[in-house]
């Protein structure tokens, strides 16, 4: 189990380099470490038989039919109704913050997006990826083909954080341009005006989307564990502040907690799944949240 959890560790994933490998390792690591769970086998149902051809897997051979007819037939399963998942990954400059660790929020979000894409496409769900900052930087429309994964992973691999966040604007634009409802997965640090964000999310809910918000935060952003006199420079606005972090730490933590509580409370009231992710934590929490959401939406 511990060995499997290694594949969910963001630090480990950051060493893999290749996004495809990252996605596969994360998802397989997740399933290998999963206990018997309610998610098992929900996506297949018997449909028909066809004649066996060389190369088919023997496990799908219907041996009862073989006993009666002395011919090899393969059992065929019908895919359940597919859903469409829209992954919105915040690619603003603030996402490049990495605190003291090797994994930035952008990296973490990318791994999460890759793992989710892999998971979705392996279940034949249509998956779309939207990279945004002040506006949508790239839109990869939803497809359910396995080859679509390569497009998504390549986009993630070449994505570089830049620009300021305009999350609310992006959400409204996305809501207006997307006709088919599905699961909207927002991966962001939510560094925008809270009320605007809530309005954007409410807009999505109004259009009957299932929304999951993965709020990625760095450990230092949550705790401010710095020492000595430090001049902090804002990654997006370039504003500077000189402080002794130790002297303001308590107040900072208090304000951060209030901010997070407010987001959680508001999203909860709107029926939006909210998941705060510390970039030092493994990815499994996010994957579980997604699977639970998907099961509910089927």
């Amino acid at each position: 189990m511990r060995q499997n959890r290694k594949y969910l560790d963001p630090v480990f994933l950051s060493k893999l380099g290749n996004m495809s490998l990252v996605a596969r390792s994360a998802v397989e690591g997740f399933f290998a470490g999963l206990h018997p769970s309610p998610f098992h086998g929900f996506s297949v149902e018997y449909s028909d038989h066809r004649e066996y051809h060389a190369g088919d897997e023997l496990k799908f051979v219907d041996w009862k039919v073989f006993g009666r007819s002395d011919k090899l037939y393969i059992k065929q399963f019908q895919q359940e109704t597919n859903t469409t998942a829209y992954i919105l990954l915040d690619s603003s400059k603030s996402m490049s913050f990495a605190g003291n660790g090797p994994v930035s929020k952008m990296d973490y979000g990318s791994y999460l997006a890759a793992a989710l894409s892999y998971l979705m496409l392996s279940q034949s769900d249509s998956t779309a990826l939207i990279l945004f900052a002040e506006a949508m930087k790239r839109y990869i429309p939803p497809r359910s083909k396995r080859t679509h994964l390569n497009i998504i992973l390549t986009a993630l691999q070449h994505n570089r954080p830049a620009g300021q966040t305009n999350l609310a604007g992006v959400l409204h634009t996305f809501a207006e341009t997307t006709k088919r409802r599905g699961i909207v997965i927002l991966i962001s640090d939510l560094l925008d005006d809270e009320q605007d964000i809530f309005k954007g999310l409410a807009h999505l809910k109004f259009l009957k989307h299932d929304v999951i918000v993965f709020h990625t935060m760095d450990h230092q952003e949550l705790n401010l564990d710095y020492e000595g006199l430090i001049q902090f420079e804002d990654l997006e606005t370039k504003a500077r502040i000189q402080v002794f972090p130790q002297s303001i730490r308590d107040g900072y933590r208090k304000r951060i907690t209030e901010f997070l509580d407010n987001i959680e409370k508001t999203t909860g009231n709107s029926g939006i799944d909210y998941c705060l992710l510390d970039t030092s934590a493994p990815l499994d929490r996010a994957l579980v949240a997604y699977l639970a959401k998907r099961k509910r939406s089927m």
């Binding site: 603030s94 913050f97 640090d189 560094l191 760095d218 230092q220 952003e221 710095y226 000595g228 006199l229 430090i230 001049q231 902090f232 420079e233 804002d234 990654l235 997006e236 606005t237 504003a239 502040i241 000189q242 402080v243 002794f244 130790q246 002297s247 303001i248 107040g251 900072y252 304000r255 951060i256 901010f259």
Partner: protein, 685 residues
């Protein structure tokens, strides 16, 4: 506040350094990218003001340290304007409580007269006066006393054995001057019998004390002094159980003395000696005291010498003299050589020793080595062999028994020792070293043996050997010896090889001399060192000694045989002169006694008892009256009175006094330097 070395105050300008550094310095900080700046902004104002406060406080602290250092070098003084209450008159009373003050005549004792005079003096003083009383013999100062307290202290004052110490009193006076009062407030009263001993001390004082007024009063008898004393006693001989003691008796008074001198030791009394001597006469008498034939064990005899028909001072009529008498010392030395004449030189040396008073009897006998028999060990205490021969190997078992029973084997080596015989003796742990390779080369001896105190050889002889230029004695050959693990090398050749090895075995001992009889002793005999060397080899011999101290001396008793006296005792308890039990310490071969607490006997409480006689310092009870005019001259010299003092004439502000502040500054500086890093670190939080 003023400064003695004000020039150092200029060092205070060094504060400019940290101030400029503070003004020019920019805060050193790390630059870090961050995202949640809106949450930091609220705390920013608080953090900035805190940093400014921290910087200012640290700057202030560092400037203070620099200023304090400059002020410390400038030696600050605090000028205190004396309050009216500080101008109280101060009286310092030096009261002689030495043993001579115990002298009494028809009018009472000197000490009672002294107390009466002191009480009258105190009564005559102002009610608000302060009193400092110094007991001149015991050296105790009682300071800052009110009138009532001073009277009570004088009532409680007692005589102590010992002499006055005037120098302590004068230095105490000077200290009072400096610390609390100006000299013009201090009046001094000195009450003493001013014996010659005291006057000698006063004369030797170099620097006078400045006082407002000096009063002194010789406490003396109006009638002629009647006092004789035993000042010194020495043991000059001990033979056949009889002690001969020379005693110095002095008539310290003006009355002719007719007394009887007796000695008393544990019930043995000497015949009384009638003595008579005129005023100020000193005589020497010899007292013979029969204390019986002592047994083989050493003992310490307490002898009290006393003068009968007491005079007006009893304390000096008895002299306490402890005499250490070593055990009965008979020594039989068997000299075994290749032939009867080989040990001739050693025989001559032992014969010479036998004529001294070191041993009760010292007999020596020469035999040829081949004739050596086991029965010889019954007679001999020491067997000296000229070499290690077959015969010694044959007698190895008998020699082992002889040594273990308390005998001493001394072996020289010849050029051809018999290896088998040497190994037999070696296996039985008799030999202190095993001769190995023969080295035929000349070697000189070290000038002196090692310090051999308590090592089984006579340490007095060892020390005296250094007087004989032994380092010029050339040996023709020697052996490379293997030293026995339990043996000690007592003497070396100058090339580092061993000359004398010593080893204890049972109650006895064995000595190996790494050279032949002819080589070492033969060469030594050409000088007078042969007798000392022979005594060195025969072992410790003790002489009659006195244990006699004055009450002002540190009592240190030699312990010749520590194992015998204090075997198994971890704590040595002694009874001192005041009858109290105190703990003593054994250091090396000495017993250190704490304060004897009086005159009389100090004795160990464990058996055998060791005594030490404690007596008055010589001359303490010399009651010769002082000459008035001479005394006045001396007192004027050691006390400079008020207006005559150079200090007052120099125009010192008399209502002020200077108090040095360097200690306060130094402590403040140390505290600030300790606080600086802690405070700086604390403020960063």
């Amino acid at each position: 506040m003023s400064f003695t070395e004000w020039i150092f105050l200029l060092g205070g300008f060094a504060v400019a350094g940290p101030v400029i550094a503070h003004l020019l310095a920019k805060p050193r900080y790390k630059r870090l990218p961050f995202t949640m700046l809106r949450f930091l902004r609220t705390g920013q104002v608080e953090s900035r003001s805190r940093r400014k406060l921290r910087d200012l406080l640290i700057l202030l602290l560092r400037c203070t340290i620099i200023v304090l250092i400059a002020m410390l070098f400038a030696r600050p003084l605090l000028q205190i304007r004396l309050k009216p209450s500080d101008s109280k008159p101060v009286y310092c009373l030096g009261l002689d409580n030495s043993m001579s003050m115990a002298y009494s005549d028809s009018g009472g004792s000197y000490f009672d007269k002294l107390k009466d005079s002191a009480v009258d003096y105190i009564h005559s003083a102002r009610d608000d006066a302060l009193f400092n009383i110094c007991a001149l013999a015991s050296g105790d100062w009682m300071q800052g006393l009110s009138k009532e307290q001073a009277l009570a202290e004088i009532k409680a004052l007692k005589i102590v054995p010992g002499s006055v110490n005037v120098a302590d009193f004068i230095s105490g006076l000077k200290r009072i001057d400096r610390e609390k009062h100006t000299p013009d407030q201090v009046s001094v009263l000195l009450l003493s019998d001013f014996t010659p001993n005291t006057i000698r001390q006063i004369i030797s004082i170099a620097e006078p004390a400045v006082v407002e007024k000096i009063d002194y009063e010789p406490v003396v008898s109006s009638s002629p002094v009647n006092n004789a004393a035993i000042t010194v006693a020495r043991v000059v001989g001990f033979r056949n159980g009889q002690l001969t003691i020379n005693v110095d008796v002095v008539n310290y008074g003006q009355v002719e003395q007719h007394r009887q001198l007796t000695a008393d030791a544990d019930g043995y009394k000497s015949e009384p000696i009638d003595i008579s001597f005129s005023a100020n006469q000193r005589k020497n008498y010899q007292v013979k005291l029969d204390i019986g034939t002592p047994d083989r064990r050493p003992s310490c005899v307490p002898v009290e010498l006393s003068l009968s028909d007491s005079d007006n001072l009893k304390a000096d009529d008895t002299f306490y003299l402890a005499v250490y008498i070593p055990g009965h010392q008979d020594l039989n030395v068997l000299l075994a050589g290749d032939n009867e004449n080989q040990m001739y030189l050693l025989k001559t040396a032992t014969d010479t020793l036998s004529r001294t008073s070191l041993y009760d009897t010292l007999r020596s006998k020469q035999v040829a080595m081949e004739q050596l028999a086991a029965s010889d060990a019954d007679w001999a205490d020491v067997v000296v062999c000229s070499g290690i021969t077959d015969k010694l190997g044959d007698l190895a078992m008998d020699i082992e028994s002889f040594v273990k029973a308390g005998g001493r084997l001394v072996c020289f080596v010849t050029e051809t020792p018999i290896p088998d015989a040497a190994k037999q003796l070696w296996r039985r742990d008799i030999l202190a070293a095993l001769p190995g390779k023969f080295v035929q080369e000349s070697a000189y001896i070290q000038p002196t043996p090692y310090d051999s105190t308590g090592s089984g050889v006579d340490h007095i002889a060892a020390r005296s050997l250094s007087n004989y230029r032994i380092d010029r004695v050339l040996l023709k050959s020697y052996f490379e010896c293997e030293q026995h693990p339990d043996a000690r090398m007592l003497w070396q050749l100058q090339n580092g090889s061993g000359l004398v090895y010593f080893k204890s075995l049972g109650r006895g001992s064995s000595i190996l001399i790494n050279t032949s009889v002819d080589d070492s002793l033969g060469s030594l005999t050409k000088s007078n060192a042969s007798v000392a060397f022979c005594r060195y080899l025969l072992g410790e011999c003790h002489q009659v000694e006195e244990h006699c101290f004055t009450c002002e001396e540190r009592v240190v008793l030699p312990v010749f045989d520590k194992d015998q006296f204090f075997a198994g005792q971890e704590r040595i308890w002694v009874e001192t002169c005041d009858g109290k039990k105190r703990r003593a310490a054994v250091v090396d071969s000495s017993l250190l006694i704490p304060d004897p607490a009086g005159i009389g006997w100090v004795k160990t409480l464990s058996k055998p008892t060791i005594y030490a006689g404690i007596n008055l310092p010589p001359g303490e009870t010399n009651m010769t009256k002082p000459v008035e005019a001479e005394l006045a001259g001396i007192m004027n010299r050691i006390f400079t009175v008020g207006d005559e003092s150079n200090v007052s004439k120099a125009g010192v502000i008399r209502d002020k006094k200077n108090r040095p502040l360097w200690k306060i500054f130094a402590w403040a500086l140390i505290l600030l330097m300790l606080a600086e890093p802690a405070l700086a670190n604390r403020l960063k939080r």
